[in-house]
Amino acid sequence: MTIETKDFTASELLCVMSARALEDGQVVFAGVGIPLLAATLAQRLHAPGVTILFEGGTIGPHVVPGQLPPTTNEQRCTRKANMLVSITEVLLLLQRGYVDVGFMGGAQIDQYGNLNSSFIGSADDPSVRLPGTGGGNDISSLTRMIVAMPQEKRRFVENVDFITSPGYIRGGTSRRDSGLIAGGMYRVVTDLAILGFDDDTGRMRVEALHPGVTPEQAQENTGFELIIDSSIPTTEPPTAEELAALRHLDPDKVYTA
């Protein structure tokens, strides 16, 4: 299901809610698609001091409205940037610890926040070979993560077929034990809810629901049991100002169709 009203589409809702998850002054490593758009939206709304990093090697760009890049490697990603570096250098900023938030989309996620963008089915004999990790594995291995993706049962599975980008691996201390001693999944922003993770078990938990969404609906669209507390806050619906800014950035609906 998607919460779509006459006022906004599901992907517009996802974009606005994702933008709100960023705070002014943060250094945000943004992937292509909704993250790129939402980070740019945040810059134009409540967080003008957000510094965006793109994996193509850009530090601090301001993407031009209506000229959204199809990947994070084009010259469109470099507009009004402070510095251009190599791919390796920009990724090493994650490892060095300069980044507050890694911000990515996802094809498939599980109860521990592991992301799969490599194989549907087994890696040996997949039903679909997906495009792969790109910078996803590095970003999720090395920093605190926010993921933006639509909440559907087929995308929210108990255990992903393949851990491309690690969340809390198998829960508990398994992430730390594997050698990933920094970072971890922080939030999953969907068109239904804001999801977080339990500190001890590493399992997904509902932090807030979007207007008009019930806890049951969030659960129905998830392929595993969510941790749902008895009282859950409701998010504010997208404002006219947020939607206008978003539509100004993506007039051709490249990422918000």
Binding site: V32, G33, E55, G56, G57, T58, P70, T71, N73, E74, Q75, R76, C77, T78, R79, L84, V85, S86, I87, T88, L91, L92, L94, Q95, S118, A123, D124, P126, S127, V128, R129, L130, P131, G132, T133, G134, G135, N137, D138, S141, L142, F162, I163, T164, S165, P166, I169, S174, R175, S178, G179, L180, I181, A182, V254
Partner: protein
């Protein structure tokens, strides 16, 4: 899963991590003098032997060395293996033309807005070719190790993931200084690197504008470098701004002037991607991927007699539009 020696595919398992003295010897034996290296696309293509490992500069739809890939495909090279930070449509064309069936990269499809490549899916899902997946940073550090003349680099990502789980040339170790767990990735020293630049002199001193991706490390790591360039400038021009030179001449073996050498992809500050041509390719390969890509190869790779004729087929209107958008970075 893909343990060396038991892969179900007859893919070329070229060892790209060389012993230090053999790597040095190869470097020492190269003619490193300041000499004119300008040649044609076809002559440069002859410098690539069947079975070699070829690294491609640029990333996704940016500074893709398409003119050289075009020449390799037309020359019907065999058993090449490839590596690149992120692979776009050139990967489809490498598989479909049969010049190589092994590509090492972190991401493989034309670009996210065009969806998953049906051609890549056809080849990998039917086990006709191998897409060896590494994390983006690990590929960068492999080139860097290759550039540094060290056998590996330590890093902190990939551990605990299935990406690492299906690779066999990785090692975890305990850091002797801190006791922390760390991952070691082996050097990547390609036989040849193909890199497209905005300008270079006849000796191969190359100046790059915009994003450099992994190209500088790749040039230093490679045992041979073929540069294609938008324009050849004089050595005097290079010496006026030596701070802009990113690839030194003695790493370079060939210089080919290839205007619009990345078309239909982008060359920073010169032209943006030719989006409508990329839409055309995506549409052509969506329903019948193999038929579509064969049509494309026939039409754009095998039929034209020269790179200029290839550009003619793409069309002046599209090229001019891309050039106008490309220059906007300096004009706006």
């Amino acid at each position: 899963m893909w343990a060396r020696g038991e892969s179900r595919l007859a893919v070329m398992e070229k060892d790209v991590t060389q012993e230090y003295l053999s790597l040095r010897e190869q470097t020492q034996s190269r003619d490193r003098s300041l000499r004119d290296k300008v040649m044609t696309l076809e002559e440069a293509c002859d410098l690539v032997a069947d079975g070699e490992h070829v690294s491609l500069g640029g990333s996704t739809a940016s500074r893709t060395p398409f003119a050289m890939v075009w020449a390799l495909i037309r020359a019907r090279k065999k058993n090449l293996s490839f590596s690149r930070s992120i692979v776009s449509t050139e990967g489809d064309l490498i598989f479909a033309s049969g010049i190589g069936n092994h590509i090492l990269t972190s991401w493989f499809s034309q670009g996210i807005v065009w969806g998953v490549s049906r051609v890549m899916r056809h080849f990998t899902e039917n086990k006709l070719a191998r897409f060896e997946e590494w994390s983006h940073m690990s590929i960068g550090l492999r080139f860097r190790a290759g550039a540094m003349g060290v056998p590996f680099m330590p890093m902190r990502s990939m551990m605990g993931s299935d990406v690492a789980g299906q690779l066999d040339n990785l090692e975890e170790m305990t850091c002797p200084f801190t006791g922390e767990k760390i991952l070691l990735v082996p050097a990547l020293n390609p036989d040849v690197a193909l890199i497209h630049v905005q300008r270079c002199d006849p000796y191969g001193n190359a100046q790059l504008d915009g994003l450099t991706f992994m190209d500088i490390d790749m040039a230093m790591a490679a045992n041979r470098v073929i540069l294609t360039t938008e324009r050849i400038i004089s050595n005097d021009q290079i010496r006026r701004r030596p701070d802009q030179t990113r690839i030194p001449f003695f790493t370079v073996d060939a210089v080919v002037e290839a205007p619009y050498g990345c078309a239909p992809h982008e060359c920073f500050g010169v032209y943006e991607p030719l989006f409508s041509h990329m839409d055309y390719y995506a549409e052509l390969t969506r329903k019948e991927p193999m038929e579509g890509v064969k049509t494309y190869l026939d039409e754009y790779y095998y039929a034209p007699k020269s790179w200029t004729e290839y550009l003619n087929l793409i069309g002046l209107e599209k090229l001019l539009d891309a050039a106008r958008r490309g220059r906007s970075i300096y004009d706006d």
